[in-house]
Every structure is written in C-alpha cells, then in structure tokens.
C-alpha cells in the first residue's frame, strides 16, 4: 500500500499557478490604489456599501458561470431582472387588498419572483436545447421580450411599490445580521452553494465536460440537454434572487432597471478566469470579478482623478487586460 499512497499524494499535488491568483492580486492592487487615494476607502461603511452593491451582479454572475462553463451564454439576465421586478411589484400591490401589507404579501411576491426566474430560465434552456437554437440568439430574443414586457407593464413609466409594503420589505436590503447586510449574506450563501455545486458534485463535472466537448459528454452517458437546461434554470433562479433583494432598494422598477447587467455579469465571469467558450469555470474567480467591477466604480466615486462618467471605460479596460493576461503564455517556450 505505501506505493499507492504515494501516487495518491502526487495526484493531489497542488499546482501553483499565477493565472489562478490573478483576479485576487488585481483586487488587492485596486484596494491599495483606493486606500492610497482616500483612506476612507477602507472604512467599514464603504466596505459594507461595496459588498452590498457587488451582491446583485455577483449573484447573477454565479449563475452565469454555470451557463458559460457548459458552453452557453445568457444575454437576457438584465431584462429578466427588470421583468421579474415589474411583475413582482404589480403582484404585491394587487395582494394588498387580500393579504394586507405584511410579511405574507412580501413572501408571496418573492416566492412568485423565484418561480418566474426559474420559468424564464427554463424557457431559455428548452429553446436552446430542444429547440436547437444557438443560446446567443435565444437569449437575444428573450432579452428583447423581457425588456419590452416591463416597459409595457409600466406603460413606459415607472412601477412603484405600495408605500406600506415598502416599509415591510425595506429591511431585506437595508438591515444587517451580525453586522453584515442581508444582501451580502445572500451573496455569500449563493457563492458557497455555487462553488460546491461546481467543484464537488457530478452536476459541476458534467457542466465542465459539456462545455469542453459536447460529443465526448454525450458519448460518456451525460444527458447533455438536461444539464444545459438546468444551467439556465440556475441562472434564472440567481436573477430572481438578485431581484428580490434589489427591489426594496428603490421600491420601483422601470424600463431602465437592470440595463447592461448581462454584460457586467459576463464580464465578472470572464475576469474571474472562466473560459468564455466553456469547459472551465471558476466560481471563486467570478466572485472576485464582481468585486473588482464594483471596486472600480467605487474608487472613481472617491477621486476626481478620472471622471465618474468614465466608469465604463475603466471596466472595459480591466476586462480586456484581464483576458490578455490570461491568454499570454507566461514562461512557455514558443514551440
């Protein structure tokens, strides 16, 4: 048996890979820059604010990591969030007459939001797999549909939540538990569950296999369509969860809710080291990616060096630099 034990050990030998730690190093550097520009950057208030704001994109990006790892893409998440927010607000307002303005109304509304998210994801998934249409096209279509739905429901304006429900719902965004805001708790739970699902279960392994080579997956007894559909359902659930904690922040939804969230989510995934064409996914990287994107915006708010209007430019540069660093063959001989 000693021989066996030795082989076992070599198999698990951890590989030190600079690319692996790239996103973490980038985040640390950003924090140092932020702190050197303004010491208030590392104040408890700012950190809390930063984490809370990262939560929305972060939660959605965890879902996107599964979709992208399995070789898909979901462009509809921002519109989906807006549509879910709109329908949830209409529903809660309508429920006031029946259930009052208490916790029950909020719970039913939130429950329906989660159900809607799952159904929207299921629709994306089935159209891609059973419908055999490219994910890019399907989700481009549903992106337009979801966006126009919220515009229609709001009649081009804004859907506002009943004032009394707002009072009941408010703590979901603004309250803390053991000093940590509720949205951050949700983010943490989603992140840990996502990491576990991706790295420790057959489902995660199947996602990687499918994204790596669908044919090999099929020949290896993997139900490719089922797994791919599930990734979209998970994405839908993540969007719903993010929406449920986002709505009490403003108490309203309009056609501009969640605009460009899909791109921020995909950006977070890519900055984190997940490969866009699938086959390799890193939940931990995605979390860091979401934090990096929020931190850039936060730093720009803190300083006059660069206009806040250039937030998009900075994020775009970071995405391109991150991928360029990942692609470069550091220290490999050119054969």
């Amino acid at each position: 048996m000693p021989e066996l034990a030795q082989t076992d050990a070599t198999i698990r030998k951890p590989k030190i890979d600079l690319k692996m730690y790239g996103p973490a190093i980038a985040l640390v550097i950003l924090c140092i820059i932020g702190f050197s520009l303004n010491t208030a950057f590392l104040s408890e208030g700012n950190i809390t604010n930063l984490l809370t704001r990262s939560a929305f994109i972060g939660i959605i990006a965890v879902g996107a990591t599964f979709v992208i790892t399995a070789g898909g893409i979901d462009l509809s998440v921002g519109s989906m969030a807006a549509a879910i927010a709109g329908i949830m607000i209409i529903l809660m307002n309508a429920l006031v007459d029946i259930l009052g303005t208490g916790v029950l109304t909020v719970a039913v509304g939130a429950g329906c939001a989660v159900l809607l998210g799952a159904l929207a994801g299921l629709a994306n998934g089935l159209l891609t797999t059973k419908g055999k249409i490219e994910a890019f096209i399907v989700t481009l279509g549903t992106m337009g549909i979801f966006r126009s739905l919220v515009t229609y429901f709001a009649d081009g304006g804004t859907l506002s939540l009943n004032f009394d429900i707002r009072g009941t719902y408010r703590p979901v965004y603004y309250d803390s538990l053991i000093g940590v805001p509720i949205p951050v708790w949700v983010f943490i739970i989603v992140a840990i569950s996502g990491w576990f699902l991706m790295n420790r279960t057959t489902f995660g392994r199947y996602c990687t296999a499918i994204g790596s080579n669908e044919h090999v997956a099929q020949y290896s007894a993997i139900n490719v369509n089922k797994i791919k559909t599930w990734t979209y359902v998970i994405q839908g659930l993540c969007v719903a969860l993010a929406t449920v904690i986002y709505v009490p922040r403003l108490g309203s939804a309009s056609s501009s809710t969640g605009v460009l969230w899909e791109l921020e989510a995909i950006a977070a995934v890519i900055i984190g080291g997940t490969v866009l064409k699938g086959g390799y996914g890193r939940i931990g990287g995605t979390i860091l990616g979401a934090l990096i994107l929020t931190t850039i915006g936060n730093i720009l708010n803190f300083t006059d060096l660069i206009s806040n209007y250039l937030n998009g430019t900075m994020q775009g540069l970071i995405i391109i630099i991150a991928v360029w660093l990942q692609r470069a063959d550091w220290g490999k001989s050119k054969d």
Binding site: L4, T7, D8, T10, I11, R12, K13, K15, R200, T201, T202, F203, R205, Y206, T208, A209, S212, N213, H215, V216, A217, Q218, Y219, S220, A221, I222, N223, G279, Y280, S333, D335
Partner: protein, 509 residues
C-alpha cells in the same frame, strides 16, 4: 540487412544531427535523415519515438534545439507555421487542417486564391480543383463543404491541396490511418505518380506492410534515437518491427481460445433498421470476441451507435440477457452493462483539456458520487488502479489528455469504459494510429476481458487485427450484413469477398 550511415547529405532535404528538447525533456537525440528527390522514404517507430517531432522540424513547425536543416544543398532556417510551403515543403498533418465550413475549392486555394484586382476568379479555381479531384480519384463537387465529407474524403482533399502547391517535398503523417484499403490504393497511386515526377516524399505509418509496399527506403527511430536507415527491399516486416521495438514481437496477437458455443447469449439484435442500415440481426455470446469488418461507411459504427442509444432506431429489437430493451440514452445502455468505445478518441472519447482522473471517471461518474457529491478519494483510487491495470504511462499524473501519446489515450479510454463495469464492450477501431507495442497490449487486454466472461465486439478496418483476435467475424456491406465467418474461414480472402459483394450468400431479408 544493410544499414546505411546516418550522415547522408545527398538528399534534397536533409536533417543534420538534429536534437530537440521540450523544456527539459529531450525527445530527439542527434538524428540525421536524408530525403532524396524522387523517393518515398518511410519513417517508422513506436509512439513517442520522435517521428512527429522530426517531421515537424523538417517542415518548419518546430525549431531544432541543435543541428541543421539542409535544403537544396544549403543550410536553411525554415520559416515557422507552414511558411515552408512557399519553399515547396508541405506537411500533411495527421489531424487534417481543413476549414470545416468552407468548400473544397475554398480550402484548396486558402491563402493563395486566384484573383484579379482583389476579385476572386471563381471559375478558374473551380476548374483547377475539378482537375485535382479527378487526379486523386475523388468524385465530389468542388463546392461541397468539408463538414459533409467523410474522414477519408477529407484526407484526399488534403492531398489534392498539397498537389496544388507544386510541392517538392511532401511530408505525410500517417496518411493511411483512416483510409480503407481501396482508398489507400488510390493514395498510393498518387504517391507513385508524385515520386515519378521527382517529388521527395516522407511517409510516416504504423502499417508496416504499407511501408513495405510503397517506400524505397526506411528509417527507424526508437526513443528519439536513430536506429537505422535501409533500402526497403533489404528488410522484411519482422526486421522492421524488431528495429522499432528493440525486441521480438512473436506474439502480437494473444492465442484465441476456443469459443464456448454453449455460453449464454449476451446480446441479440434482431431486424435493426436506422437511416443508413437495414435488417441487422446477430447474436453475441458471453465471453465471445465478435469482429465487425467491412469498408469504411458500410454502417458498422452506426449499428452500435443505434444499439447504445446514440442514434435513433427505426425498427428492430435488442435483447440483453433475455430482456428486450431499447435504450433512449447512453446512460441507460451503460446501466444495462453495454458500453461503446468510440473510434474518435479526440473528438468523442476524451476531454482533451482535462486530466486523466476527470476523463477516467466521466462515464461512470454516478458510481463516484454519494447523491450528487463527488467522492474524490474514490476517484483518485480508481486512477491509481487503472494506471496499473492498463499500464497507462504518463510522466505526470496531472497531464492533460491532449498531451498524452495516442497509445496512452487509447488505454485511458479503455480504462474509462471499464469503470462502468460492463458486460458487453463495443470497441470501434481499438488500435487506430497507435504503435505496435501498445497494440499488442490492447489485444491482450481484450483477450483477458473475454476470458473473464465479458462479451466484446471489435469493429476494425485493420484486417490482420480482425483476423488475429476474433472468434467470429461479421462482414458488413452497404448497411447490411454481407456474411459471417468463423473458425478457419476467418481469412483475408473470405472477408474481402464478402466486403466487396463477391460472395453469393449475401443475406437478403
């Protein structure tokens, strides 16, 4: 057996004491090679002997660590990434280099389109391609997309492409690995024609009888070292095998034990129809090795893809161990004890970017999980066990599948399907493109599995292989079973007659 000096500098393209290391790993040790105009020079050796590396250095795809390339009598540094084609040195890769979504014409003229003032002269290119296709005996339209062609047809397109470049040196990496005998003959006709035109041809193959047939000289490499160069007429097949392996290979095929005619019937297929195959019926007994022979495209693979639930069945019944079943998915087939080992190792068999462990457990992954959670200790243990059982050789246990040799990939694939603990194993082209030493091991694994009571189907285009290991052989032709031979009737003549439709006892329903 006359062995020439390695230091030959009389050729059109010569390698002079080439050495090559990848990182710290040396793969070629001071190898010299000369390729003369108007000769076919075969390069043989086991997988990992350094053939591919030598070929790639001589066509500019790799730089040598030391040594020189001499072309036309002058030392040269070949331009990288196929730039040597402009000098007349063309390498046909084993993994064909064609754009799947483009047409035959577009591929052949890719990068050197005939154009007037930037506007493509399509009629001129089409006319040229029609001529080239006729020369290689390929009866397809120049406007066919590559993705619609068979592997064999793609190979011929590659050769047409090389011919269109007026190559002075043509380097071919296992061109016949995926060709049938008829296609190989067409290829060899072209090779002979090119040789007569004065083209220098370097030819890598694992099929020694082809080397004997087509080449003028043979160079053998083993473990990155030059072993010898001889006129082909001075060597017989045994000499070549001995030089490659460095030991005697008397027992390439394990002894075929007597099939037990009373054994249980493991699999019965009755009246199977799919889109391309009609009325397939046969039985497979416990512990039997059943060969499936026939030309490429005769429907052999499709029969078993239908059996395993990979392609839909239109009619027919499948019975395993007395239960009639129809698998809707590979998972159901696996759970019923039937596994299919694909011939397309790289495209359908292994996740090339993943390591051995992920690949090994993928088919049988539910066995390595409690509910959904993976048991990684169990996976690691399975890898240790499989590496030992199937003698998978990898320098580093974390090596990615794409960095393994073809032979080790095949062993890993075999180990992968065996993790599902099958009762029936279908192996499609078990030894395509792997060296003679590994072939021998795989034949012994197959024989050992059969002896343990596993039923095995071997689909193969390699005639000696089918003859060497099967208890019984079914020959397919144009989507139907053309005949069955067993015992002493398993010989090349019988099989070829059935495959070509010469035997009258073709079964028609």
């Amino acid at each position: 057996m006359v062995v020439e000096s390695p230091m030959a500098s009389d050729g059109l393209l010569c390698a002079d004491s080439l050495s090559k290391s990848f990182g710290t790993v040396p793969v070629l040790f001071s190898v010299s090679f000369s390729l003369r105009a108007g000769e076919v020079h075969a390069l043989i050796g086991e997988n990992g002997a350094g053939k591919s590396t030598l070929m790639k250095i001589m066509s500019g795809f790799h730089n040598p660590t030391s040594g020189r390339i001499i072309y036309d009598g002058k030392p040269v540094t070949l331009p990288p990434n196929g730039g040597a084609e402009a000098l007349g040195i063309v390498l046909i890769h084993q993994e064909l280099n064609l754009s799947e979504q483009m047409t035959v014409t577009e591929n052949i003229f890719l990068g050197r389109e005939i154009a007037k003032h930037g506007i493509l002269d399509r009629p001129a290119m089409t006319a040229r391609v029609v001529q080239l296709l006729a020369d290689v005996g390929l009866n397809i339209s120049p406007d066919t997309r590559i993705s619609e062609l068979s592997i064999a047809q793609k190979q011929m397109v590659e050769i047409a492409k090389a011919m269109s470049r007026n190559a002075r040196v043509l380097i071919m990496d296992e061109p016949t690995a995926v060709l049938t005998e008829a296609e190989t003959n067409i290829l060899f006709k072209q090779v002979n024609r090119l040789r007569d035109q004065g083209v220098a041809i370097m030819f890598v193959s694992h099929k020694l009888h082809e080397v004997k047939e087509i080449s003028d000289r043979v160079t053998v490499l083993r473990d990155g070292q030059w072993i010898g160069t001889s006129a082909t007429s001075d060597l017989n097949l045994d000499d070549m095998a001995r030089m490659m392996v460095g030991r005697e290979l008397s027992d390439l095929y394990p002894p075929v034990n007597e099939p037990n005619v009373d054994a249980d019937i493991a699999l019965t297929v009755n009246g199977l129809h799919t889109k391309n195959i009609t009325d397939i019926s046969f039985e497979l007994r416990r512990g039997e090795i059943l060969g499936f022979s026939g030309l490429v495209g005769s429907g052999r693979t499709e029969v078993f893809e239908a059996v395993c639930g990979l392609t839909p069945m239109q009619a027919g019944t499948i019975t395993t161990f007395g239960n009639e079943i129809r698998f809707a998915s590979v998972a159901q087939a696996r759970d019923a004890g039937i596994v299919y080992l694909t011939k397309d190792r790289k495209g359908r068999g292994l996740l090339l970017n993943e390591g051995m462990q992920t690949n090994l457990t993928l088919l049988a992954l539910p066995q390595f999980a409690n509910r959904l959670m993976l048991d990684r200790k169990k996976e690691a243990f399975a890898l240790t066990r499989a590496v030992r059982r199937f003698d998978i050789r990898a320098r580093d246990p974390n090596v990615r599948a794409k960095d393994m040799s073809g032979g080790n990939q095949q062993k890993l694939l075999l180990a992968k399907v065996m993790e599902a603990d099958p009762k029936i194993v279908i192996i499609d082209e078990p030894t395509r493109g792997i060296d003679v030493g590994t072939k021998q091991q795989i034949y012994h694994f197959i024989a050992a599995l059969a002896a343990e009571g596993v039923s095995i189907v071997v689909i193969s285009s390699d005639m000696p292989e089918i003859i060497g290991i099967s208890h019984r052989v079914i020959i397919m032709r144009e989507g139907q079973i053309a005949g069955t031979v067993s015992g002493r009737d398993i010989n090349e003549t019988q099989i070829v007659r059935y495959a070509a439709g010469l035997n009258e006892e073709t079964i028609h329903a």
